[in-house]
């Protein structure tokens, strides 16, 4: 091993083939990446195998006055987890925090009497949101909507929809208390340009009969009093 010692300041250069194993003590680090005044904070560089690329672990700037220790977790965590701090620099693995909207799927209401999405994981969902996009049917008489979540079906909610009309709007259900509300418009489907239609609103108490947030395999479905769909779609989102 060829080691060059620069006087009393310590090691200034180590031969590239050398593997270093250095010891930390209770008060002295094994390695200290020192900064250069007015230029850069200290950093470590981790190269690729060909030494043509590398990343740097860079300390905070002098102005931050940072003196802290980050302690890594005891294991490598689970898939999708993030590092979190306990506020004292001790890190652990944790699931992603709440918030955000998850797209759960689309039901194209152009055929069938019922459209459903299977195998939904609602365990992290607080609010289930259905967005109706000009949904219509072929029945000769006006029909009301059907909604099914987890095998429980609510028949005949909302305003009746005639075959000539399209239904557009939203239905949201709070899965923590099974209460929902809807805002819909029912007009002749808008097919071009920028148009608007009047709307209706109401609320729903949905007797689920079970805790859907405990299920990772739930089916949701929509229908229209058994009439056959012929236009539109329903997108389903989960608000976490």
């Amino acid at each position: 091993m060829a080691t060059i010692v620069n006087g009393s300041t310590g090691v200034s250069q180590v031969q590239e083939t050398v593997t270093l194993k250095v010891i930390s003590t209770g008060s002295v680090p094994s390695l200290e990446a020192k900064g250069t005044s007015g230029v850069t904070s200290g950093y470590l560089k981790l190269n690729c195998s060909e030494n043509s690329h590398g990343i740097k672990l860079l300390g905070p700037p002098h102005s931050a006055g940072a003196d802290y220790t980050l302690t890594f977790p005891n294991n490598d965590g689970d898939a999708g987890q993030f590092l979190q701090s306990n506020g004292s620099g001790v890190m652990s693995w944790a699931a992603a925090g709440g918030g955000g909207v998850t797209y759960l799927g689309t039901m194209n209401t152009t055929s069938g009497t019922e459209q459903q999405i299977a195998s939904l994981d609602l365990t992290d969902v607080n609010i289930l949101l259905f967005v109706y996009n000009q949904v219509s049917h072929t029945s000769g008489s006006a029909q009301r909507l059907t909604l099914g979540i987890g095998g429980n079906t609510l028949y005949g909610w909302g305003n009746t929809i005639s075959a000539a009309q399209g239904l557009a709007g939203m239905l949201q259900i709070d899965l923590r208390n099974n209460i929902g509300a809807w805002e819909m418009s029912q007009q002749t489907p808008i097919t071009s340009g920028n148009q608007w239609a009047s709307s209706y609103a109401g609320h729903i108490i949905y007797s689920l009969g079970n805790n859907l947030r405990a299920s990772s395999n739930t089916t949701v479905k929509v229908g229209m009093s058994g009439a056959t769909f012929d236009n539109g779609s329903v997108n389903v989102y989960g608000l976490n």
Binding site: E114, I117, S139, S141, Y155, T160, A227
Partner: protein
Amino acid sequence: MAADKNTIVTNHPDGTQTTEVVDWTAEELAAHAEADAKAWEGARQAAYPSWQDQLDMQYWDGVNDTTTWADAIAKVKADNPKGDA
């Protein structure tokens, strides 16, 4: 009127879609019958003029001593009688 059979289109997580045709359950048939029995309500709701138009009709009926509003409402009711699905 409800379709003769329930055609259930299922959208699966892998993007595939399956279709199943089954008989309506007794609960579903009862719901459909109830919906059909009230279909006249929806037909009337769709046929009535907007409330803005109705207020306008009533105003001009008062000014002109006409019955445009009452005639319009009566026509909707006559065209969509109770109990006529």
